[in-house]
């Protein structure tokens, strides 16, 4: 398979916004992953909004505003976040990784809550996630084979996914589960899609698994899927 970055004509690379809050620390990891997939990443200060020609926006990992309160609680109010529902309504795609997932949940763009790990504490681990069939076909996942087992690092203290309706309420929208329970999440949930499939939140880090030298390239498919969607005019 020829990589999309090699097939993209130079100068025609689509842009992908990477939203940076004070305390964000995964911005470069996400930007590098977008770049390898063929995008030109654009860092967007959380006090501003993404440029109009960005059809893709990412909310990276980190500790926005220090996460001294509930993770992601403050970041949802930033102008860059308030603009995201409109981007999705227009057909754009949004990914939130780790703290970004927490922020998307706090912002109400994804249902449920991400709470303290059980057992408690920050945990870093290379984990295996399994890709599941979901009801909605997500543009983020076209290159991911159902049943595939992918190795990504997890690195979080508040990744315990909860939904008041239990597993049945979300089962159709969970594209990845951990191969064993890492943090107390219902149904080993590691990621979640909204009803449109355009908003994708994921707790472990596909953005740290897209460089062949550093452990795994199992995360590349996510960013390459998004590139395909843009290149084929599906966004």
């Amino acid at each position: 398979m020829s990589g999309p970055s090699s097939s993209a004509p130079s100068g025609a690379r689509p842009k992908a916004a990477v939203i940076v809050f004070p305390g964000t620390n995964g911005d470069r990891d996400m930007a590098e992953s977008f770049e390898r997939a063929g995008f030109t990443p654009v860092y967007v200060d959380s006090r501003e909004t993404a440029p109009a020609d960005c059809k893709i926006a990412g909310v990276p990992g980190g500790f926005s505003y220090g996460d001294y309160w509930r993770a992601g609680m403050l970041a949802r109010y930033a102008p860059a976040m308030r603009a995201l529902p409109e981007l999705v309504a227009k057909g754009g795609l949004v990914i939130g990784i780790c703290n970004g997932f927490q922020i998307l949940v706090e912002a109400g763009m994804l249902p449920g809550a991400l709470t303290y790990n059980n057992p408690p504490g920050f945990k870093h681990k290379w984990v295996t996630v399994e890709a599941r069939e979901t009801k909605v076909k997500s543009p983020w996942l076209t290159r991911v084979q159902r049943g595939a087992k992918l190795r990504w690092p997890m690195a979080h203290g508040e990744g315990n996914y909860y939904h008041p309706g239990g597993w049945d309420a979300i089962a159709d929208n969970v594209p990845f589960v951990y191969d064993r329970n890492m943090n107390g999440s219902i149904g080993n949930t590691a990621a979640l899609l909204d009803a449109t499939g355009r908003v994708f939140g994921v707790m472990p880090h596909p953005d740290r698994a897209s460089d062949p030298h550093i452990g795994s390239t199992d995360g590349s498919a996510i960013f390459e899927s998004a590139y395909d969607a843009v290149a084929q005019g599906r966004v």
Binding site: G23, R28, D29, G62, F63, G66, Y68, K123, H213, I214
Partner: protein, 731 residues
């Protein structure tokens, strides 16, 4: 000097002869805030007054050294226009009193040294020595320290890529917490601390100044005593969120914004930064203390001068661009204020409500501490040999015991608290290889880094133990294909006022100096922490060595876990005689004993062989024999890789010492069988003894010598012992 002034100086930690020296140099009585300035800057922690002249024994030059001792952080050229800035710092006493904050601010502090050099930090490592895990107080300290390192490093977004943790009763009550940070900087992006430009603005950026860490540097320079817990106010409090904003603001603020010089405010805070910047630049600095952003009302001028509140930087900025600079920091959510001016004449002055409260020669403050020449014991008391004990016939029992020993046992459960992949540079993280390996941006080139210390050997012989630490660092780096090129040293010692301890300090520095000369590499800077003692005595001399080397191709780095169907080659010449070792301690029940086996030349030869073979892509597994000796090294490789091995050979000497002794220059190499002959030939021409002794595979580790099977143990049993510390709950 008035008695009340004299007493105030003594209470701050100044010595009578230093007070006399101050009065003579000034030709007048010092003011009270001036005494605080001297107390901080002339503390052991800031002035190195007891160790300075001896530290000069260590070589400090190399063609690839871009910044050496005296810089914020040493920096070495790693190729492709990149330099790595790296440094080690101790936070021992704060961590004894308030483990979480002590360790967290240790990480924050060392990061700011790297940032001040202009480098974007890319990793943290730590070298920790605690009392035994069964001691509740030591466990409390260890858990707090680990949580503090994790809390700060994870939040600011830096991977913790490894380190070393030692458990030994001699560190009970006085733990060692040494943090190392490294960062990447373009050669032309390095910063200076030299203040320049009369009339230029002095700008304060970062957290506001509070009463935390008042005279913390002086607190670090006395022994811990009964009243130690009352010293909490000397401990700084960290805030990684502010640290993160400050880091981004500082890295984005360069000469293009009119920046002339910068320095972080660490030990002795504003006083240290301002007086050192002035001294380096041969200029003076006037500070308006009223302009310093304060956290609380009613602070005294001396408190503002010597507070060690965290997350603060001091800049010299072109006068006409000062307002723009303040705006730059405000944009990043960092408070900034113009608090002073660069002046002619070399004076360090501070004003408070328009009144001069400090007016001193900057060089006297920064560099003027009289050297302390403590008496030195002519010789060191000999350490008794281990009591004799019988050699076991079968190695399985002692091996399983060794694998579960705190300090040897697996620490994955501890490292899981730390993020080790954030930043996308970590090629090998904790436990994945003998040293951490990081890659350069958009390149297959990288660098390796390791940190080690051998206090248990130094307790017997500080000179040889220091050599052994350098030897271990050399081997660790070689096992990932990197030749050691420079070190940063963290010297942790007992009080130099004790002639025996002072002699040990000389021996440690002499060992480091001779070792560096033998390896033909420099020290790039570091840290000295003295007065590590409690009522029960001093800690063993514990020089930490943080070492770095270049990895030309990160795709060829071996792992520390075995895979199946490899040829196992033992490199080096293990000695089968009693020597100071983890085995000797466990088998004899004595903490110290025996001689220290060290042969740096053997380590150097081994390293050259490993580096050459790894660069040719021949090596799948490489692990040097450290604590626990060659059998523990092999067993760890089996346990991590979940694969067995069968080894058969004969040797001279006692079985247990051969397998568990800690001889220099010994390592296991695993290669695909097709490379075995070529590797052995390379070893021969490198002057390294090497024997192909067996193969990996199966689910048991079996060793035969002659007709007898001396070890036959399942990999499950090895793993159970090796992973046991998680269940014990040791931090």
């Amino acid at each position: 000097m008035k008695p009340e002034l004299h007493n105030a100086g003594i209470a701050m930690g100044l010595k009578p002869h230093e007070l006399d020296h101050i009065e003579t140099q000034l030709g007048r009585e010092p003011r009270l805030p001036e005494l605080a300035v001297f107390a901080g800057m002339w503390s052991e922690h800031c002035s190195y007054k007891s160790s300075r002249s001896r530290l000069g024994m260590m070589p400090r030059e190399a063609p690839y050294l871009l910044a050496g001792p005296g810089s914020h952080a040493g920096a070495v050229d790693v190729g492709e226009g990149w330099a790595v800035a790296f440094k080690i710092e101790s936070h021992n006493h704060p961590s004894a009193v308030e483990p979480y904050q002590g360790a967290a601010t240790g990480v924050g502090g060392i990061l700011r040294d790297v940032i001040a050099q202009g480098a974007r930090p890319c990793l943290v490592m730590d070298s920790l020595c605690f009392g035994p895990p069964h001691d509740p107080k030591s466990r409390h300290i260890a858990q707090g320290v680990v949580a503090g390192i994790a809390g700060y490093g994870n939040a600011i977004g830096l991977p913790n890529v490894g380190g070393k943790t030692v458990y030994d009763p001699r560190y009970e009550g006085n733990p060692l917490v040494n943090a190392l940070a490294a960062g990447l900087v373009r050669h032309d992006g390095m910063r200076t601390a030299k203040a320049a430009g009369i009339g230029n603005a002095v700008i304060y950026a970062g957290a506001s100044t509070g009463r935390d860490g008042i005279l913390g540097a002086a607190f670090a320079s006395v022994e811990l005593g009964e009243d130690t817990t009352e010293k909490r106010s000397h401990v700084q409090v960290g805030d990684p969120f502010t640290g993160k904003k400050l880091m981004e603001a500082c890295l984005a603020f360069g000469p293009e914004h009119g920046m002339v010089a910068c320095q972080d405010m660490g030990a002795c805070g504003l006083t240290c930064a301002a007086s050192e910047m002035a001294t380096l630049g041969g200029v003076g600095i006037d500070l308006s203390l009223d302009a310093v952003p304060l956290r609380e009302a009613g602070m005294e001028p001396f408190e503002v001068l010597v507070s060690e509140s965290q997350e603060r930087f001091l800049f010299v900025v072109e006068a006409k661009r000062a307002a723009e600079a303040v705006k730059h920091f405000e944009h990043y959510g960092v408070h900034a204020a113009v608090i002073g001016t660069v002046t002619e004449g070399g004076r360090f002055r501070a004003l408070w409500n328009g009144e001069v409260v400090v007016d001193l020669p900057a060089a006297l403050v920064a560099n003027g501490a009289p050297k302390l020449n403590w008496p030195e014991a002519p010789t060191l008391p000999p350490v008794a040999e281990y009591a004799d004990f019988a050699a076991p016939k079968d190695l399985s029992k002692p091996l399983l015991r060794m694998l579960s020993e705190p300090g040897i046992a697996d620490l994955t459960h501890l490292y899981d608290h730390y993020d080790h992949t954030v930043g996308n540079r970590t090629v090998r993280g904790p436990g994945e290889a003998e040293a951490a390996v990081m890659k350069l941006p958009n390149s297959a080139r990288g660098f390796a880094i390791t940190i080690t210390g051998r206090g248990e050997l130094c307790a017997v012989d500080a000179y040889k133990g220091s050599l052994a630490a350098l030897g271990e660092a050399t081997r660790n780096l070689a096992c990932v294909g990197a030749r050691i090129m420079a070190i940063t040293d963290g010297i942790n010692h007992g009080p130099p006022s004790d002639p025996v301890e002072n002699k040990k300090l000389t021996e440690t520095i002499r060992g480091l100096a001779d070792g560096l000369k033998a390896l033909e590499i420099p020290v790039t800077g570091g840290n000295v922490s003295l007065y590590n003692a409690t009522a029960d005595g001093a800690i063993p001399p514990t020089p930490m060595v943080g070492a770095i080397g270049i990895v030309e191709d990160v795709s060829r780095v071996p792992r520390a876990e075995l895979t199946t169907d490899l040829a196992l080659i033992l490199c080096g010449t293990p000695q089968a005689t009693p020597m100071t070792s983890a085995y000797g301690r466990i088998a004899s029940g004595q903490l110290a004993g025996g001689s220290v086996n060290v042969d740096l030349a053997a380590d150097k030869r081994l390293a050259q062989l490993l580096v050459d073979a790894i660069r040719r892509g021949m090596v799948s597994f490489a692990k040097d024999a450290g604590a626990g000796g060659l059998l523990v090294a092999l067993a760890k490789g089996c346990a991590r890789g979940r694969v067995g091995a069968t080894v058969a050979y004969t040797f001279e000497g006692r079985l247990d010492w051969h397998f568990f002794g800690e001889t220099s220059g010994v390592a296991w190499v695993g290669v695909e069988p097709r490379f075995a002959e070529a590797f052995l030939a390379m070893a021969k021409s490198s002057g390294v003894a090497a024997m192909r002794l067996g193969n990996t595979g199966g689910s048991r580790l079996t060793i035969k010598t002659g007709e007898s099977t001396v070890l036959d143990v399942s990999i499950d049993a090895l793993r159970k012992a090796f992973m046991s510390s998680a269940e014990r709950g040791s931090a």
